[in-house]
Symmetry: D3
Subunit: 242 residues, 6 copies
């Protein structure tokens, strides 16, 4: 196995520095800036006292997400989706993933007939925006739930567990944790893992960009990812206690 | 482990009957009706002597896919996307997946600056439409490539390997191969696997619909999926020889 | 008058072989594959227990239609309307025509406040897709009505008469019945007739593609069309009895 | 046959007063306000020195049309299509009809590679807006062609013949010429005829709104329409000479 | 200061001839053709017995406007917004301005829960279409209010004052009133003023097209504008009395 | 005149604290976070080596802007424009204003055939987002121009002067500088001023939200605004030197 040198001497199994800043903006019920190295995503949680049609009258709430990138969060400018009049397929895939991931740890009956709307907006992109978004959105959702509890609108937290996400991939034959942009764009295999605080899998999405990957490679990636998730869950916990 | 009784006495590790009908319609360079039980998808491959902008002048071709469901392919009628004026997030996810899966086994340089456009249209849906689409699209693409070879437009096949896809999932605790609709809509975990003829992974997409899944469950699903893929690859081969 | 030789030795006043396959797919209340030679259209009828706003509270039902072509139903690939985000003017004209034609033989009061939604999707095109669609949609609607009667949801059939459609045209000076694609694209005059089982006109749409047509030519076309409609009505009847 | 009393004592076979005002606005190469009674349509012809893609390099020109209604041209306000973001199916049908009708009398080769763009905007609607639009658009197109001849941009007129249009219909069993709104909305059969100065048919579009119509009724309507067209052609000629 | 010669010997502080034709079309509750020289705008006022969501149940009404240009109202043809599927930013700015201007003189409570919808459609453009639109829309709204009073639907007029608008600008150093197109397209500064009958400012929108303008220039423009508005208010009054 | 007490004891003629942070994100050629009190707008300047069609071949460049609000930058969540598929009229007005304001101080010929694309995205809104955007965009544009000069792509700065913007308004009869949200939403008159470093007016946009405003009130507002602009221009200068 060759040796791949990562920027800033990062080890293959190391996360980039993770920073979680709560109350980053004023208006949202939860507002978190999450940074995975140079990737910065603002995650806000808004509580709305209504639910989408398929939940009306069910007694259950809903958790959903939208995702966007500021036009110049990227190396070269990306067209503004609002100006183009449509969200790309990639944007839709990511926001559906964020929504499913958060719902996996919510007891929607305990939320009551209200919606937690998560908005994940990428301020600066350097790989891993969707995994940062999921990890930060959970903290923002937690803060919003705390507000609901403080206001007496709910008696019990609908959050059953933490959820976090990380990317893993194989670059020049080396399995790496938490790919940054330059690694992501040259990797052979790219995988995103979403897991809970108790170690269960919520989502696994792996794609061979170049040659197909083997079962052994998948096992190596899963091991790296599980390590990364544990550290992210710890960072979430620390942020909530901070 | 409880026992889950599948319709028509199907074993947990059995595919539904697979039928592949080539030359189903007349105009396309490749036209395949693929059936996984009651799921029927028409996959056509069209050769176009142009490439999208990012490939112009590269000497390389492109393979891409679109997916659609006839409005009454489903149990209750689904709104026609052309009438709504937009493709759903689900449709976009699926057609991006089909395109990536096919490109994974194509040598785009050998294709020359032309596009193979795959259209996967669901005539009747009973679960597994995206996996049937990938499996059928590969046969349609193969037929289109054969036409290009026969016409002398290319000298060598750009197809490096077969590719097929299957779903696996856990229903009432039982790992099952190739979910039909009633299973898919009640499963705890749903996973789609895309693999090559030589056994490499191209895509893995797993989602916990209910409780998160464990590593042991993932391993059981992967084993089932590998078995199903081998049988689908054999069916593709038989169809091409038939 | 010159002699125009049609493919497969077809006489100027002959329809192409008509095949009507009922119950072509499983989920719809009516599902008919109709073939006019190489033109194949899947017509499904879906019953929905709601009506559009202009019929709410009226006690009357509604019958409406949508039309689409699979991208590679045509000789060269046609862009997918769902991907373009809009239906073409031609598509809208055709689906409005199908809807009007079917409503002409429906007693909407006897249908009750429900909608029969007809979906006509062209699997393979070789001219005459709109006339095949109308002819097949009527059979699908009839099957849907039979289901409503069987379920006791209505007491009496709202269908007053059969309705069918056929194209006629003048090619190289020769009036022809039921144009196939190669004839349609070279004709001077193209006319679509929609008529009832009792011989009344529901729609007539004639267009001079090249030189304007005379009253005498119109009369010749109408005579051809009336003959074709009689045969199509007979084919519908046979299919329902079959 | 019952007697149907028309407004202002109009005879069943009489047109409403037709007024054609040329040079109604200043900027267009042809600008005609045409009035069929209370129906007022502004038809402008704009010459553009370019052609759509399918005519590029062909040496031929193009004639095309767009149609619109001012929101309060109608009895109750109609939503503005620009604000809704799409043209209705009806609008598209009408503008396609206008375009086909005008092209039927144009020799596109003599026009050279330029486009005559016709805009037909309904200022006030009282039935027959599409027939007034076609009749007025021909005069506007004629004025634009005269400008091209005067400027020496073309040597010979590409206009082969006049074209005009009129509606006919059956109201309470009485065949009527040139329906006004109150007649149009209560008629059993509605037919639009587009004919040339030399009496050829360019388009016939007939629809049974209520009961299907018979061949004898069609013949009566055609006779009425032919009479109306002759009078409209005369009015066009008078306007051009005026 | 240089002397700028205006067309037709117009003085720098003179309006173009203003013509206000009431009841220009038949169906609308108010219908006014207003002409500022060669600029002609049709302003209709439609009364609708409903209000937008933010006014429901408030007891108050609403006044709103839409604006459009016929495609060949302009020197060279402008694309039809309905065909493009969206209103331009300019159109939206103008219709928002018209709506705000009219609402500034309406007592919405006295209007009751109904909407006056103003449609301002430019038939011919020669500069100042938005100011003509506001000035004409007020007359159309006044006529609609008179109808509401005559029908006894309201007891008291909700119109508190007149409102009119005019453009002013600096061309080659000369402050001018009521710019026509050729002046507007070459001016250094362009300003639109909306004022009430009692001389209050409702809107001021000034833009330096070339060099920024000074406070002294602004004062000169304001003086010109106030003069123009007084004359327009007088013309409105005369039209209502006419 | 009554006394209006502003939050945090701010004087009527005082700006909120202004903070300008350059290089806020990494990828853009200019990236500025500007804060007017609690209003925070990220302004990025991207240099693109192409121009829009109307400038191609002119030798001149272009400066343009887009504006957006993060969904939860506002007190209650605002729908995401990308998800709705269109930009609101307000958004379009603002981004057109920003573009015009910046172009007013650019010599487009000196820029060469390239575009400076400004993106102004509101992270947190508390009134005055458009004026903060203009003020910050100028600093971002200045940084981008410095990069062009450093790279030798241009020889001379195309920036002729500074430009900044501020809002003024009348609340409860008191003229105020730099309105925050609570003031903006209750003001009688709202005016935005855009001025250059040398004191020229680029834009003035004033609207009477309640009663029309008098000339004396306008004069008071202009004086306040001129004071504010001078301070903002000083803040821009300090930021560039910092």
């Amino acid at each position: 196995m060759t040796t791949y040198l990562r920027s800033q001497g990062r080890a293959p199994d190391a996360l980039r520095p993770v920073r979680i800043t709560r109350n980053y903006t004023r208006h949202a019920e939860g507002s978190v800036l999450i940074e995975f190295g140079d990737t910065r995503v603002l995650c806000t949680a808004s509580v709305e006292e209504r639910v989408p049609p398929h939940k009306r009258g069910s007694g259950e709430g809903w958790v959903t997400a939208e995702y966007g990138m500021l036009p110049r969060s990227t190396h070269t400018r990306t067209d503004r989706e609002a100006a183009k009049g449509k969200q790309s397929g990639r944007t839709q895939e990511i926001q559906r993933l964020i929504g499913r991931s958060l719902r996996a740890v919510f007891d929607l009956a305990k939320l009551g007939e209200r919606t937690i709307q998560l908005d994940c907006d990428v301020i600066q992109a350097d790989g891993g925006t969707r995994t940062a978004a999921i990890t930060g959105a959970w903290v923002a959702a937690h803060d919003a739930v705390t507000k609901l509890l403080d206001l007496g609108l709910i008696d019990e937290s609908p959050i059953r567990d933490a959820v976090a996400a990380v990317s893993v991939g194989i670059v020049q034959g080396v399995p790496l944790l938490d790919l940054e942009y330059v690694e992501d764009s040259s990797c052979d295999t790219d995988m995103n893992l979403v897991m809970t605080g108790s170690g269960g899998f919520v989502e696994i999405q792996g794609t061979a960009e170049g040659v197909p990957f083997s079962r052994a490679e998948m096992d190596a990636l899963l091991a790296l990812g599980e390590k990364g998730i544990r550290e992210l869950i710890a960072a979430q916990k620390a942020a909530l206690e901070g």
